[in-house]
Amino acid sequence: MKIVVKLFATLRQGRFKVQSGIYPEAAKVQDIVEGLAISPTDLGIIFVNGKSADLNRVLHEGDTISIFPPVGGG
């Protein structure tokens, strides 16, 4: 199935801004994060089709996943 992946801010470094990819049916958010080699400490909030989602969210054909770095400074 086709999934659009959008990366934000520092997660773009060495990767991409937006990319379409073909993933196996029933792929989860976690599979995409691992496939991009995003370490747990570099992972912030994730949105699927503009709504927040957790790592266990099962993806569907045509979904857009947006991945942000954690922001914690003050």
């Binding site: 934000f8 801010a9 520092t10 747990p40 400490t41 570099d42 992972l43 912030g44 909030i45 994730i46 949105f47 503009g50 709504k51 927040s52 957790d54 790592l55 947006s66 942000f68 770095p69 954690p70 922001v71 914690g72 400074g73 003050g74």
Partner: protein
């Protein structure tokens, strides 16, 4: 006619009062500057310092801001700009927490960090700054970390809490405290060229959602640092949320996250 009315006729015939007259009035009435300004605003007299607020905020609203208590947790990058703006806006009572002292590496972005404040307490420096801007503000400085039990007691009586922390676990703790106390929390955070903002009301779990993948102390800022404009932008947005909460006016950023990346000039507002 009481003494206050007589003085008002002399010193504020136009409904506006200057700072010198306000000080004279406080002295004549034997009141603190905070009490004097509270009485003036309650009688519809506007201190001149708020004259440029007046087209956007009514006199009644200016009075409501002055009667409000706001807590700012952290006096670093976000906290410095927040305290500056809240004091200038005329929030009457402000409490601030920070256990840290200024260091040279704060000079790139923290408004209160100056050559002469290196090594000085952040919250005590903030107290001096607020006093210098608006001596009518009642400022309470807590020179210690924000801790759940004590913090809960000290937050009682505040209307809004502002997150200007630099630790993800402490933010989660603060969000839980605000939930227990039914207090609105205005969250802000910064890293590198980026920043984010969200307002959490009682019963909402926005901060849990924002940081559910983050078990570490810090975010991207541990590698990216923070640039000067990031705290200025986020703190200003937070100050606007505070004013809207206090006045019950406008559209708040509830159950949504604003994320911006100034390097690519992108602003995203996403549903939580």
């Amino acid at each position: 006619m009481d003494k206050m009315d007589v003085l008002l006729r002399q010193k504020a015939p136009s409904g506006l009062i200057g700072w010198k007259e306000e000080e004279e009035m406080a002295l004549a009435l034997g009141l603190s500057l905070h009490e004097t300004e509270g009485r003036l605003l309650a009688q519809g007299v506007l201190p001149r310092r708020y004259q440029r607020n007046a087209k956007s905020i009514t006199r009644e609203e200016q009075c409501r801001l002055f009667q409000s208590r706001v807590a700012v947790i952290g006096c670093g990058g976000l906290g410095g700009y927040l305290l500056e703006e809240l004091a200038r806006l005329g929030i009457g009572s402000i409490s601030a927490w920070d256990y840290d002292n200024f260091a040279e590496h704060n000079l790139n972005r923290q408004l209160l960090a100056e050559i002469d404040s290196i090594g000085q307490s952040k919250v005590e420096t903030a107290a001096k700054r607020v006093q210098a801007i608006n001596p009518a503000v009642k400022f309470q400085a807590f020179n210690r970390p924000f801790a759940a039990g004590e913090g809960e007691d000290l937050l009682a009586g505040h209307q809004v809490v502002v997150d200007a922390l630099d630790s993800i676990p402490v933010r989660k703790m603060l969000a839980a405290v605000c939930q227990r106390m039914s207090l609105p929390l205005v969250h802000g955070a910064i890293a590198g060229w980026c920043g984010q903002l969200c307002t959490q009301f009682p019963g909402e779990d926005s901060l849990e959602i924002i940081y559910r993948n983050s078990s570490q102390e810090q975010g991207a800022e541990s590698k990216q640092g923070v640039l000067a404009f990031a705290p200025a932008v986020v703190a200003s947005l937070q100050a606007a949320e505070v004013v809207k909460i206090l006045l019950g006016r406008g559209e708040l950023l509830r159950k949504r996250l604003l994320f911006f990346n100034l390097l690519d000039m992108e602003f995203e507002v996403l549903d939580l």
